[in-house]
C-alpha cells in the first residue's frame, strides 16, 4: 500500500467554508439516517394530530371529513416543518459541545461557523423530507391541492421558511444552555400554545374568547392561514405578507444572536 500524501497547506483553497459546511452537512444527514429523531418528530406528531382531528372533528366542524381535510392539512404541514426544525440543530449543537466534538472541529483549520452552517444546511433537507412525507400521508387520506402547482410549492416553501426561521430560536437556546434536554423542553412547552393555539383545527372566529384572542395574534396562525389559502386556491389576503414579516423578524433577531454566541463561545 502506498502512503497517502501529506495534507495540503490549510486555508489555501478558496471557498473552504462552503466545502467544509457541505462535508459537515453530509455528516449531519448521515447521522439522521441512523437516528432519525428530528424527521420522526416532524412527521409522526403532525400525522397523529391529522388523523385524530380529522376523525374527531371532521363531521362537526366542516360537515364531511373530505372538506375538513382541506381545511386541516395545510396547518399540519406548518406544524411538521416547525417541529422538524425545532430540535434538530439546537440539540446537535449542544450535544456536539458536550461530547467534545466542537472542540475537535475548532482545533481544525476550518471556519468556526462551518459546523453550525453544515447542520442548518442539513436541516433544510430534513424539512423537505418531512414536508414530502406529510404530503404523501395527506394524499393517502384524500387531500388534493386545489391551487396551482406553483401555489402548492409556495405553500411548502413558506412552511419550510417559517420552520427555518423559528429554528434559530432553538439554535440560540442550544448554544446557550448546558443541557440539550432544555432544547427539547422548550419545543415541548411552546408546542401547545404556538402550534395548537392557532387556526389549526378550526377558524379562529369559532374559538372561545381567550383562545381566539391568542390565536389571532399568534404568528403561526398567519402561516397556517397562508398555506391554507395557497393549497386550496382561496384568497390569500395579507397572510403571506404577515408570515414573511414574521420570518424576517425571527431571522434578523435570532440568527445573529445564535451565530454570535456560537462563534464567541470558548
Amino acid at each position: 500500500m502506498t502512503t497517502a500524501p501529506a495534507r495540503t497547506q490549510p486555508g489555501t483553497r478558496p471557498l473552504g467554508w462552503l466545502r467544509h459546511s457541505l462535508v459537515l452537512a453530509r455528516r449531519s444527514l448521515a447521522k439522521t439516517t441512523r437516528s432519525p429523531g428530528p424527521i420522526v418528530n416532524g412527521v409522526v406528531t403532525p400525522a397523529l394530530f391529522l388523523v385524530l382531528f380529522l376523525y374527531l372533528f371532521g363531521g362537526s366542524v366542516a360537515g364531511s371529513t373530505t372538506d375538513y381535510l382541506r381545511y386541516l392539512f395545510p396547518g399540519i404541514l406548518v406544524m411538521g416543518a416547525g417541529l422538524a426544525g425545532m430540535i434538530s440543530t439546537g440539540t446537535t449543537i449542544n450535544l456536539d459541545r458536550r461530547n467534545g466534538v466542537t472542540d475537535r472541529f475548532r482545533s481544525l483549520p476550518i471556519s468556526r461557523l462551518a459546523p453550525l452552517l453544515g447542520s442548518v444546511l442539513a436541516d433544510i433537507v430534513r424539512y423537505l423530507l418531512a414536508v414530502a412525507i406529510l404530503f404523501a400521508i395527506g394524499a393517502l387520506l384524500g387531500f388534493r391541492v386545489h391551487g396551482s402547482l406553483a401555489a402548492a410549492l409556495a405553500a411548502a416553501g413558506l412552511a419550510i421558511l417559517f420552520g427555518f426561521c423559528v429554528s434559530w430560536v432553538t439554535v440560540f437556546i442550544g448554544v446557550l444552555v448546558k443541557d440539550a434536554n432544555a432544547v427539547v423542553a422548550f419545543s415541548f412547552i411552546t408546542f401547545l400554545p404556538l402550534q395548537l393555539g392557532t387556526s389549526l383545527a378550526a377558524p379562529t372566529s369559532t374559538l372561545p374568547g381567550w383562545l381566539r384572542a391568542w390565536a389571532e395574534v399568534n404568528p403561526v396562525t398567519q402561516v397556517m392561514d397562508a398555506c391554507r389559502a395557497l393549497l386550496n386556491g382561496t384568497t390569500i389576503g395579507g397572510t403571506v405578507t404577515t408570515t414573511l414579516i414574521w420570518c424576517v423578524i425571527l431571522f434578523v433577531v435570532f440568527c445573529p444572536l445564535a451565530v454570535r454566541s456560537y462563534s464567541r463561545q470558548q
Binding site: 500500500m1 502506498t2 502512503t3 497517502a4 500524501p5 501529506a6 495534507r7 495540503t8 497547506q9 490549510p10 486555508g11 489555501t12 483553497r13 473552504g16 466545502r19 467544509h20 462535508v23 459537515l24 453530509r26 455528516r27 448521515a30 447521522k31 439516517t33 441512523r34 437516528s35 461530547n99 467534545g100 466534538v101 472542540d103 475537535r104 472541529f105 475548532r106 482545533s107 481544525l108 483549520p109 476550518i110 462551518a114 470558548q266
Partner: protein, 320 residues
C-alpha cells in the same frame, strides 16, 4: 523553525471567580512528550484548550509549532491535533466515515482521505471494524479511533487530554504503545493525566499542576526522587504469615511496613535491589503472596510529598 514543539509563558486564566490558571509556564522540545500531571480541576484541560487555540488566556503567551496561539491561530490549527477528554467520534458513523470526514475537512481529496483513513485504521487495529458504526465499538476501540482521527492530518503537535480514562489496564497498555509510537515520527505530544504512573510511562518531562500553578517540574526520574521513590506492596495468601512477612520487609527496607486491613503490607524502598531481596526472602520462607509489586507513589502520595497537603478537588461533577 522553532526548536520547541510548544511553549507557554505565565499563562493565566479565570472563569468568573475561579482561577483556573495562575502563571503556568511550560515547554517541550520537538519530538518529546510532556506530561501534565494533576488532580481533577488543576487546570490541565484549560492549558490544552489555550494551546489548541480554543480558549484565549487572560495573560501570558504561548506558541505552538513556532506560531503564536493568539496571533496566528489558523497557522497553529493547521499543525495540531486534539484528542479530548471525551472521545469525540460520531457514534452513528462508521470508523472509516469518521476518519474520511476529518480528511475532507483538512482539504484532502476524497481519494486521499480514504487512503489515509485505511492506513490509520490498519495501524490502529481497526480494519475489521472499519465499516461498522462506532456505536458498536468497545471503549478501547473508540479511544484508538479517536487517536487515529487526530493523526489524519499528520500533525506536528498532538494534545491528548487524559487519554486512558475509562480504559482497563490491558487496553491502557495498548494505548500507551500507540502513543509512544507517535514520538518516533517526531511528533511533539502534550499529555494530561491524573496518574503518575502514566506520566512516568510516557513522558520525557513532567509538569505537576495544582490549583492552576506549577508545583513541580522535571524528568520522571527527578520527580520520583522528589516525591520519595517507590514502595513494595505485598498481599498475602494467608493472613497467618503477616508477622514473618512484616519482619522480612522491616529488615530489608530498614523501617516497619504499614499494614492495611486487607492483609496488605506496604514499605518504601530505595531501589530495585530491595525489591529483589524481599522477593527472594519471601520464597526462602515459603510465604505465599497474592500480590507482590514495586509501585510508584500514587498521585496522592506524590502531592503529599510536594505540597505537604493531599491532592484536592475530587469533584468529578465539575470537570469541564
Amino acid at each position: 523553525m522553532s526548536e520547541h514543539g510548544f511553549e507557554a509563558e505565565k499563562l493565566a486564566k479565570r472563569f468568573g471567580k475561579t482561577v483556573a490558571l495562575d502563571g503556568v509556564s511550560l515547554a517541550a522540545p520537538r519530538g518529546q512528550v510532556l506530561g501534565l500531571l494533576g488532580p481533577n480541576g488543576a487546570g490541565k484541560t484549560t492549558v490544552i484548550r489555550i494551546l489548541a487555540t480554543l480558549l484565549r488566556s487572560d495573560r501570558g503567551r504561548a506558541s505552538v509549532a513556532g506560531f503564536d496561539v493568539a496571533g496566528q491561530p489558523g497557522q497553529v490549527r493547521g499543525r495540531i491535533a486534539l484528542s479530548g477528554q471525551h472521545t469525540s467520534v460520531d457514534e452513528e458513523l462508521t470508523g472509516l466515515a469518521n476518519l474520511v470526514m476529518i480528511g475532507q475537512l483538512l482539504d484532502m481529496p476524497r481519494r486521499h482521505a480514504t487512503q489515509r483513513a485505511a492506513e490509520l485504521l490498519a495501524r490502529f487495529g481497526l480494519e475489521d471494524a472499519a465499516r461498522r458504526p462506532v456505536a458498536s465499538y468497545s471503549g478501547g476501540m473508540r479511544r484508538r479511533l479517536d487517536l487515529a482521527a487526530s493523526l489524519v492530518g499528520r500533525p506536528e503537535v498532538i494534545f491528548l487530554d487524559e487519554p486512558s480514562v475509562g480504559l482497563d489496564p490491558g487496553k491502557r497498555d495498548e494505548l500507551w504503545q500507540l502513543i509512544r509510537g507517535l514520538t518516533a515520527e517526531g511528533v511533539t505530544v502534550l499529555l494530561t493525566t491524573q496518574y503518575l504512573e502514566e506520566a512516568d510511562a510516557l513522558a520525557d518531562g513532567i509538569i505537576v499542576l495544582d490549583h492552576g500553578r506549577v508545583i513541580a517540574a522535571g524528568t520522571p526520574a527527578e520527580l520520583k526522587q522528589q516525591v520519595g521513590g517507590r514502595a513494595v506492596v505485598v498481599r498475602l495468601d494467608d493472613p497467618a504469615d503477616t508477622e514473618p512477612a512484616a519482619a522480612i520487609l522491616a529488615s530489608v527496607a530498614d523501617r516497619s511496613p504499614e499494614r492495611s486491613t486487607r492483609h496488605e503490607l506496604v514499605v518504601p524502598v530505595t531501589g530495585d535491589d530491595d525489591f529483589f531481596e524481599i522477593t527472594a526472602r519471601l520464597r526462602e520462607h515459603a510465604i505465599g503472596v497474592t500480590e507482590l509489586s514495586l509501585r510508584l507513589p500514587s498521585l496522592d502520595e506524590a502531592f503529599l510529598a510536594l505540597t505537604g497537603a493531599p491532592a484536592t478537588t475530587t469533584d468529578f461533577t465539575k470537570a469541564a
